[in-house]
Amino acid sequence: MITLSVNGNTVKVKSEPDTPLLWVLRDELKLTGTKYGCGVAQCGACTVHLDGLPRRSCVAPVGQLEGGEVTTIEGLSNKEIKALQEAWAVLDVPQCGYCQSGQLMTAAALLAEIPKPTDADIDSAMAGNVCRCATYVRIRAAIHLAAETMED
């Protein structure tokens, strides 16, 4: 049985080891904020943090994650995500909203690494997250806004 830390709680996973982390989170742990979009690491809707770094949970078999520390949109509460969520609200970023958990998880990891990202930084960090509603103009603006408002 695989043991993980999920949002700070120790979890013993019952799913088969080949089950992608995404489906362990959603079906077993009932953490549904992390979304299924493609299943092949092409869209980023399933992005979580694994040991502090963004990771596509749809292609991460849980059997390979023994002892890993997983944080999902439900559990992330650092200054980066708080600033981003405020900025998302100010600019009303989401349309259908389905990809936004993944967008925010990736953006939070970006701000943790580069607190004042340039447009080029945003492009390279966020290019793996698809938004079919194409809210990209607002995602970009909101990341800049969050960077401005985030406490040092």
Partner: protein
């Protein structure tokens, strides 16, 4: 009707056990203002409405149950339209709040259950969302609902306080009588107000008194969509629910002939495998087990009724058909007679691929059978069709069926299914179990990509002539495509043998042209098709606006001013062109050494949009779109930021499609399967966008779709200005193969 009963029913349902109806948490014993509205004289009518209205229901709009006042002083508006990102939760709440004089902070939105009598789209005569009609058909209805509720609250206050109604004011949710110093919140008056007879003809505010309409109120669904708490169909998880993944036939129209499920059944978590009319369904305790087992099925497919043709063959057959005389969609003057005066001619063939909608949330539907009743939870877009379909498949009377409409993770037309495909497939999978159960049908991305219901593959042939002065003296336009509505409940839309969705945007060409003909051919192909964000306008705007652009330039006219000159009788088209020209400081197509600009204008769903795209040469020989200026005239701008966001999104959605996307067939099999070979536009490919909203007091029209049609031709026109290459086949990635040198031929 006591609407509160309705609500408590749904609160007893599966979904509420997960406690996700947060917005209704405070409803409790909350009272309902039942509003009965008179006939909506302005209700939009369409061919669809005429078919779907078997009774005279549209004459009297029985709009009880739109406004629910909770004992916590929240005002919940039951939203009859699917929220798929285009903003009706916020937009329709704004209309109610405006007339109710509510405080925006007290407003809540809730998806209305399926109930055609209460919640029909006034443009369709059935419950459903599409054609960018949500705001247009609700504008008066929702304002009346708010005004009626306000009148009842004021009447209750007047009774309580023994003062004339005329002396009572309502400001930001506070009902006051200044002389006596009395005041009350809505919740304090709701009990009493609910006992009053709703007034029949409430007066609506003069637009000069609007305080919310025309302002950017914060969207109601942003927070839940930024912290993972918003519930979509895929998140619905009632106890003991099984996940179902279905093996669909690899060719459209094929059937399962022989199934070996021995390996599939051994996958841990799998409970059942059933052959259904839609394929082979695997039932398991979670998605992964169901998918793993589905992929382990060995199925022999019977292709005897299947579509076996490939894309190249379809192109050849469409071309052959285009040579034949088509059915006339419109004709002015005589195209042939003008040709004798022609100095120059231009002919072009355009090819538009099948396109998948590819919403971020693949299709899914949760459905439960308990004690002879059935309830479904999903992003239903044509609730009335889905409701009837479920009842039919389950063999239940319609009153034993209920649909709870949830947020949809995008749709772009995909969930508006005239044949109730998805609801029927889920119901059939539930029915196959032959017991009380709850299932959630989940399509994989590949199922979605290969599942059909595409924007129709379409071919256009165009021919035009210029006179000595460079004026267009004839315009002959042939469209070869598949019908979307044929065989559906919307079939009565077909006029003179032509499905209007094939020629919309072409047969109403706004430019002044004496000799014009548009003809159409309907092809029979076994690939199911559907409306795809802006429907026929996706290809007609491209064909007409790129062709016109070549003619203008060939006749030595400026693309922007040349258009405006042909639109003297079309002030709203000309208005958006002038506005976008000002915003972009248009000074011709050239924009420095390595950049060029293109313009396009198109009306769809009664909204006018003009765009100017500035492009440079990007990697892989494709255009890089640097910036897009966009002017939109959608009548009264109810929420300017939602309008801007829809224009931005429409531009990105349309741009990705014209650059990268096509669904192709190889001997009937779809070649593409996921986002690796059906590319989505990504953030680094998104242009800067500047949106100008043209001030208008016309009735509001939709914004969900109209941002899409102009972007393709605007980019193609810019590309032609930059490279001299006309784009005649989409997507742009086809250009190395199919590029045509733009040349207006001298006759």
């Amino acid at each position: 009707m006591r609407f509160v009963n309705h609500l408590s029913d749904s609160l007893n349902g599966l979904v509420s056990r997960r406690g996700f109806m947060r917005g209704l948490g405070g409803l409790g014993a909350g009272l309902v203002i039942s509003v009965k509205l008179g006939a909506a004289a302005d209700a939009q009518r369409s061919g669809a409405a005429a078919v779907m209205q078997s009774d005279n229901a549209a004459e009297t709009i029985d709009a009880t149950g739109f406004v629910v006042i909770g004992d916590d002083d929240t005002v919940t508006v039951m939203i009859k339209h699917l929220e798929m990102g285009q903003g009706p939760y916020t937009g329709l709440c704004t209309l109610v709040a405006e007339e109710l004089d509510a405080d925006w902070a007290q407003m809540r939105a809730q998806g209305a259950p399926s109930n055609a009598a209460l919640y029909k789209n006034l443009a369709f005569g059935m419950q459903g969302t599409g054609g960018s009609t949500a705001m247009a058909n609700s504008y008066e209805q929702m304002r009346k609902a708010g005004a009626t509720a306000r009148a009842m609250l004021v009447a209750a206050a007047a009774q309580n306080w023994g003062v004339p109604e005329s002396e009572i004011t309502v400001v930001k949710g506070l009902v006051s009588h200044n002389k006596s110093g009395e005041h009350a919140r809505f919740a304090e008056l709701a009990d009493q107000a609910a006992k009053l007879t709703p007034p029949q003809n409430v007066k609506l505010k003069d637009p000069s008194r609007f305080t919310l309409i025309g302002t950017t109120v914060p969207k109601l669904d942003t927070r839940a969509k930024s912290d993972g708490s918003a519930i979509y169909t895929i998140d619905v998880d009632p106890p003991e629910m099984l996940t179902v993944v279905i093996a669909h036939p690899p060719r459209f129209g094929a059937k399962a002939a022989k199934v070996d499920d021995s390996v599939a059944r051994k996958v841990r978590g799998v409970t059942d495998v059933k052959v259904t009319p839609h394929g082979v369904a695997v039932y398991a305790d979670g998605f992964w087990a169901a998918k793993k087992a589905r992929d382990a099925l060995k199925i022999e497919w019977d292709d005897s009724g299947a579509e076996m043709r490939g894309t190249d063959q379809l192109i050849a057959e469409y071309r052959k058909q285009a040579e034949q005389p088509g059915k006339k969609a419109t004709e002015r003057g005589t195209v042939e007679s003008a040709l004798s005066r022609a100095i120059k001619m231009l002919q072009a063939e355009y090819i538009f691929p099948y396109l998948a909608h590819a919403p971020m949330e693949p299709l899914d539907c949760a459905i439960e059978a308990r004690n002879g009743a059935c309830q479904a939870w999903f992003g239903s877009q044509l609730q009335t069709v889905d409701h009837k379909t479920i009842a039919k498949v389950m063999g239940l009377p319609e009153e034993k069926v209920k649909i709870n409409t949830l947020f949809a993770g995008g749709s772009f037309g995909r969930r508006a299914q005239p044949a109730g495909d998805l609801a029927g497939e889920a119901a059939a999978a539930l029915k196959a179990l032959d017991r009380d159960a709850a299932i959630k049908l989940v399509w994989t991305r590949e199922d979605d990509m290969r599942g059909g219901r595409y924007r129709p593959f379409t071919l256009h042939r165009m021919k035009a002539a210029l006179d000595k002065g460079g004026n267009i003296i004839s315009w002959d336009h042939v469209v070869v495509s598949q019908s979307i509505v044929k065989g559906s409940p919307f079939e009565a839309m077909i006029k003179d043998g032509i499905d209007p969705t094939m020629v919309e945007g072409a047969d109403d060409l706004p430019y002044k042209m004496r000799n014009l003909r548009v003809t159409a051919h309907t092809m029979e192909v076994g690939v199911p098709v559907l409306w795809w964000r802006s429907v026929g306008h996706t290809h007609t705007a491209f064909a007409t606006e790129t062709f016109l652009d070549e003619l203008l330039v060939g006749g030595r006219k400026d693309p922007l001013h040349g258009r405006i000159a042909l639109l003297k009788d079309q002030p709203r088209y000309a208005g958006v062109l002038q506005a976008v020209g000002r915003a972009a400081r248009w000074n011709g197509s050239k924009a420095g050494k390595d950049r060029a600009r293109g313009v396009a204008v198109h009306k769809s769903f009664d909204t006018y949009v003009a765009q100017i795209a500035e492009v440079s040469r990007g990697p892989d020989g494709l255009p890089k779109v640097e910036k897009v200026w966009c002017a939109v005239d959608c009548g009264v701008a109810v929420n300017p930021e939602i309008i801007r966001a829809q224009m931005e999104g429409g531009i990105g959605f349309g741009l990705g499609a014209i650059l990268f996307d096509e669904i192709t067939l190889d001997q009937g099999r779809v070649t593409q399967g996921n986002f690796n070979d059906y590319r989505m536009l990504r953030i680094h490919e998104m242009p800067k966008v500047e949106v100008v909203i043209v001030k208008s007091m016309e009735k509001p029209t939709g914004v969900g779709e109209p941002g899409v049609p102009p972007i393709g031709p605007a980019v193609a026109n810019a590309w032609r200005a930059l490279t001299g290459k006309a784009v005649r086949r989409l997507p742009f990635t086809q250009q190395p193969k199919a590029v045509a040198k733009s040349k207006v031929r001298t006759t």
